[in-house]
Structure formats: structure tokens, C-alpha cells
Amino acid sequence: MTPRATRRQVLIGAGALAAAAAAAPILAACQPATQKTGGSGKVVVMTDPNEFSDDDRKTLEDATKLKIEVVKSDLTTLYAMWAAGNPPDIFRVQAAGLPQYISRKMVKSLQSYFANSKLLKPEDLAPANSFYRSDGKTVGKGDLYGMVKDWSPDFTLFAYTKAFADAGVTVPSDTTPLSYDELHALAKKVDRKQGGKRVYWGFVHSNNDQWIDRTAMNMLAEKNQNLYADDFSKLVISANPEALKVVRYLYDLAAEGLQQSPVDPSPNWMGADFNNGQIALLQYGYWFSAMAESDTTKGKTVMLPAPTWAGVRRDPTMTATGWVISSQTKDADAAWTVFEQYMGGKPAQDRAKSGWGVPGLRSLYAQMPQDTAFQKQVQKVLQGELPKSDFVLQFNPYIGEQTFSTSWTKNLEPALKGQIGFDKFVQNIESEVNTAIADGKRIIGG
């Protein structure tokens, strides 16, 4: 019976391909009128509307005398636009995805623009911008490909003092950093369940595991190591005792119910849970201070310095959200004008004053809010973190941002349910990520 069906498939396929071949010239002729060469006066920006309000757009349009079209930042749409040959002029990226775009030559080097810019002087750039530097092999040095819109040292902690009071434990000092082991012990003490229902999670981190690889990488970097081999050709955990230790540490946090996990989930993200007073210790960067105080947590929140794994304190950003200009932009000068204004003009000052992040330019640091007692406390801790923030994390240029974390989450569930052991958990992650790396390398021909 099936041969008949297969023949049908072939017929359909062949027919369709023939139609496509016939139609291709027609499509090629139907180029949309918007594909102008440089000087069209329009710049397409793909970004998050939460970071780029309509007012921002109007401000920029006035300042640059250009028309700005905003497309909502969405991976599918980005892929589709690239496939259609018409990617946005500017798009939003995070540090973890950037090495891949660089290795695929999808972003434009902005070194010459920065060198000549009045607003964005290379000496004025905050440390986090190192994530946007690459010499083609390593991130952190070389040409600038973009800039952060703002950033935070992302490994600081926020403590909900009521959870500590309820457990009879003193809140750690905000001048002395903890070690991760001390943090673990502390989290166990403040973690609380009542009658099977969750009262407080002890220590929640890594943006609900979406950034688990970044947390691990930062810990390993204290010992000058990384999750990946030096040439990024492999993920190495089981063959590296230190990496295994780090992974075990993070796994245990979930296994002991201190971290939100697939077997102990919340229907909300960790920031909202903190606001609802359900988390004792939360690891997020300075930006979270802008929303940490809800009705429930007001007056009961304290920011603490980043913990350390091996005694070497490192507190860089792990997101470095910012903008890049695509290599296929038709008007790089126009795109740069918009870019420059967003990163150094009025929108940048507004961002600095809002307290939602440390500015990308050092000269704007002074604009961060310091009015309330909480904001003052936060600034105090921040000043201690900034000197420790001039580091980068070396992301793998062959895979996408979520490859590791998806593999982690996917295997964590059966592991925590006891269906696979810890060794198999690690093995699965290694095999899945290494397959992805091999795929990525093959595509580039590396």
C-alpha cells in the first residue's frame, strides 16, 4: 500500500520543485520596493519594546533625522528575515550569542566608527563592552562589534531578610563576600517548606537555569578554566575534575530543593517569586534592584556581594544585552547614527537614571539613582563589585545561546526523578552539546 503513497509524494515533490523552479524568476523580479541602496533614510531596528519605548524612538528620530522602524525581537523572525535576504539593520543580542554571529560574519565591525565618535569614546566604555570585542578567535580583545545598552555585575545576591528572621539566621554582611560553599550551607538553613507547600526557596539562580552554563563558567574561570576545550571543539565536564565539581554543586542545589527546578517549579519566574516573598536568596545583577522592592519585600531586601568559588572574586555581566549592526545593512552610516544616539544620547542618560542597569559609558555612572536607603545600600555594594567586573566569559562560537541550558533542563528532570543517575546526566549533556558543536563546526567548515 505504501509504495503508492510514496509515488504520490515523489510526484508532489517533483511537481512542487518544478513549480518553484518556474516561479523563481518571477519571485526574483518581485523584489519589494523597500530594498533601496544606501540613503533610504530608514533604519530597521530589531529590539525589545520594553527597552525601546515609542518615546525613545521619537527622540532618536528627531536627533538623527531618520525614520526608525521597530521590529519586535524574536528569534524566528530574525532567522526568517535573514533567509529572505533582508535582515534588520540593527539587532539586539546578548553576549552568549555574539561569538556565533561573529564567526558567521553576520555582524559588522564598528571599530572605525568608535574611533571617530564623539559620544562613544573607547576609553569611556564600561568593562562589559569587552564582550563585544573579538579578534576573530577570542572574545575580549580586538575590534568592537557593538555595545551594551546597559549591564550589571550579574553575580550579586539579593536577600529577603524576613526569610532569615523566620529561620533565626543572621543576614550576611554586605561587605564580606561569601564562598559558594558557605552560601550553600546558608541556603539550607533558610529554605522552608510547610505541610508539603513551599514557603521559601533557599537559593535561586541562573534565571531559572536558562543561564546555568554562564554561572558554571564564571565559577570555573576563577581557576582559569572553562567548560569547553581551549579550541571550543568539545564540552569537557567528566574529564575535568574541577568542572565536575562545579556541575555537581549546581546539581545538588536542585536536588536538595534549594533551587527551582523541573520537579519543584513555580508558575512564575524567579524575579516575580522574589517579589512575592517566596525566595530567601536570589542571584541577579544590579538591574534587579530597580524592581526588588515590592509591597511584600519593601524594607526587607538587601543586596550582597557576589560569592566566590575559589577565592578569586569575579563579577562580570553574563548577559551584556546590547546592539549590533548587521553585516548586510544597506546603510551602515545611518544605522551607526541611530546606534550612537541610543548608546550615548538622551536614551542612554534616561536608562542610567532609571536604575535598571549600570551604563555602558563610565561617564554616565554618576547618573545612577541614589535616593532611597535601599538604593544607597545597593550602590555601596555595587562600588565594591565594579572593580571585579572587568572579565569576559568565553562562549562557544559553534553553538547557540540555549544549547547547553536546554540540554541541562531536559536531562535534569529525569535525573531528579531518579530515572537516570548523575553520571548519565553529565554524559547526556556532554553528548548532546558535543553533537551540536560538531554540527556547528561542520557548517562553517571548521
Partner: protein, 321 residues
């Protein structure tokens, strides 16, 4: 217009051709379906061809500079992909759980509502509403509804067995997914069944009643057989839909409701198209992902083919189309 039969004269002018009934009928047919043909050729064929072509390449969604043909590699890879096999298994399990149950529920609802009932618009609306609620919102509702801490379900169960406190989404994810799918899909199938029931001439039922048949007998021997084309429709549509479920398990995954990359359903709900989605948007393997999806297409075609072939036995069209 009499049907012209018999041989045509040797020189066959067009008008003579037209008088042949077969030709006229054929021309009529093609004219009637011409909107679909045009739509298919210009709007479907090209994306389908591209999608098909994509499955033979190493396209990864980023720029096109590195795209190459890789022959059948993507297809053979699918057969060694343990995740794909697991996902296919879970999808078939879900299909077997959801489709027959869903059909029964839809049919039962339609039969119940087809009787003279007070307030029938109200009942109709209640059963139809879940179908209308957007999927994202529906998922939110079920997440909150089944939440161990603040959900209504556990609260109600707590009245019967205190401290049951079942963590639905963690321990029985497939049950929740199945219930959600049936609940959300019931209204659609129900409406189709109702339309079908309306299409059954009342005289048939009345004649049977006059002959002394009971309500149940009428249903069994008259209504259901005449309804089989519609049952068949819902069955085929149901199976096609069940095999393609993507969004619901992603939205019900632990954690916050969202479709972004990084959302992974628990392994029981790791369905086939979910695997395809993750392959494409997380692992950036558009080529391989497309191949996986085209393989699913083959499975669907095969199943549908079997359904059609076996339908002769039990679907009663009244008149052959």
C-alpha cells in the same frame, strides 16, 4: 440537454466535445476547484518546495553563506536519534489517549445537546468556550488550576482526601496535557457533530419512532450510521492534529509560561514536533529539523491512508461521491 453518448464524428469540433457528458463534467470539476489549484500553485507549492529542499541541506537558520546540500544525511540521522524516537513514542501514546476519548466526548456532547433541552444555548456556550480561549491563556489557566500551592484542583481534591497535594505538572504531566487538549478541543468537534446531526433529515428518525423504535435504538441504528462521514472527518482531523501538537506541552512545561527557546517539557511530554522545534530553534539545525518534520508527514500520510482504506467498511456515505 440530453447526454450525448457514442462515438464522436471524426472531425470533432469543440461543441461536439462539449456535448459529451464526461468532458463537460471534467471541465466543470476543474473550473469549480480552480481557486484551490491557483492558491496551491502560487501560495503553497513554493513554500512547500523550499521546505522540502531545506531538508536536504545543512541550513542552520543564520545566514545563507554556508548552505550546502547534504543529500539524505538528515534523513538517515533521524533513525539514530534517540530523542526523536522517544518523542515519536510519546506522541503516539498521547494520540491514542486523546483522539478516541476526545471523539467520544465530542459526540456525547453533541448528542446530548441535540435533544430539546432548556437553556441549551447556555450549555452550548459552556462547552464551546474552551475552544475559543487562546492557547497561551488556556495554558496559564491550567497551570494555575493544577498548581499544588494555589490551584483549585488540589483544593477541591483536598475536600475528599486532605493533604493529597498532588504536583500535577511534575508527576502526571501527560495527564494534564491530555485533559487540557481534550477540554480545549471538545467544542470544535462538538460543533461539527452538531452540524452533522442537523443534516440528518428528521423524517428518518420520525419514521423509525413511528415504527416503535426507542430513542436509543434510533441513535444506534439511524443517527450514528448516517453520521459516520462526520465521525470520519473528526477522526482524521483529530489524528492529524494530535500528531502535530507543539504549543501545549511547551506552555505547560514547568516554570513560567512561554514559548521561548529554553523551554523544555518534561520527558513524558517531549513530543515529536517539540523535538523538531527544539532542533530548529535551539540547536539551529533547520535542515535536520525539516527532515524530521517531513518524516512526520510521511507517518501522518501513512496513517491517513490506512484510515481511508478501512473507512469503506464503516463509513456510510448514503450515496457514493
Amino acid at each position: 440537454m440530453t447526454a450525448a453518448t457514442g462515438a464522436l464524428p471524426r472531425a470533432a469540433p469543440l461543441s461536439a466535445l462539449w456535448r459529451r457528458r464526461g468532458v463537460r463534467k471534467a471541465a466543470t470539476f476543474y473550473l469549480l476547484i480552480s481557486p484551490w489549484i491557483l492558491g496551491f500553485v502560487f501560495l503553497s507549492a513554493i513554500p512547500l518546495a523550499l521546505a522540502f529542499l531545506m531538508s536536504f541541506t545543512n541550513y542552520d537558520g543564520l545566514n545563507l553563506d554556508y548552505v550546502r546540500l547534504v543529500g539524505l544525511d538528515n534523513y538517515t540521522r533521524a533513525f539514530t536519534d534517540a530523542d526523536a524516537q522517544h518523542a515519536l513514542g510519546r506522541t503516539l501514546v498521547l494520540m491514542v489517549a486523546v483522539v478516541p476519548t476526545g471523539l467520544v466526548v465530542q459526540l456525547a456532547l453533541a448528542l446530548m445537546l441535540n435533544q430539546p433541552i432548556r437553556l441549551s444555548p447556555l450549555f452550548r456556550t459552556i462547552f464551546y468556550l474552551p475552544y475559543v480561549i487562546p492557547v497561551v491563556a488556556g495554558a496559564w489557566v491550567w497551570k494555575l488550576f493544577t498548581d499544588p500551592t494555589g490551584g483549585l484542583l488540589n483544593a477541591l481534591l483536598g475536600l475528599i482526601t486532605p493533604d493529597a497535594n498532588i504536583r500535577w505538572l511534575v508527576e502526571y504531566p501527560t495527564v494534564v496535557l491530555a485533559l487540557f487538549t481534550i477540554w480545549a478541543g471538545a467544542g470544535g468537534g462538538m460543533v461539527v457533530f452538531l452540524a452533522g446531526l442537523q443534516g440528518i433529515p428528521a423524517e428518518y428518525r420520525e419514521a423509525a419512532m413511528i415504527d416503535g423504535a426507542s430513542g436509543a435504538q434510533v441513535t444506534r441504528y439511524i443517527t450514528l450510521p448516517l453520521l459516520t462521514p462526520v465521525i470520519f472527518f473528526n477522526l482524521v482531523i483529530g489524528i492529524i492534529a494530535a500528531l502535530q501538537i507543539l504549543v501545549q506541552p511547551m506552555l505547560l512545561a514547568p516554570g513560567i509560561v512561554g514559548l521561548g527557546p529554553g523551554t523544555v517539557p518534561p520527558s513524558d511530554n517531549y513530543l515529536y514536533v517539540v523535538h523538531g522545534y527544539i532542533t530548529i530553534f535551539v540547536h539551529q539545525l533547520f535542515g535536520y529539523g525539516s527532515a524530521l518534520l517531513w518524516l512526520l508527514f510521511l507517518v501522518v500520510v501513512a496513517l491517513t491512508f490506512v484510515l481511508f482504506k478501512t473507512s469503506r467498511r464503516w463509513v456510510f456515505y448514503g450515496v457514493e461521491p
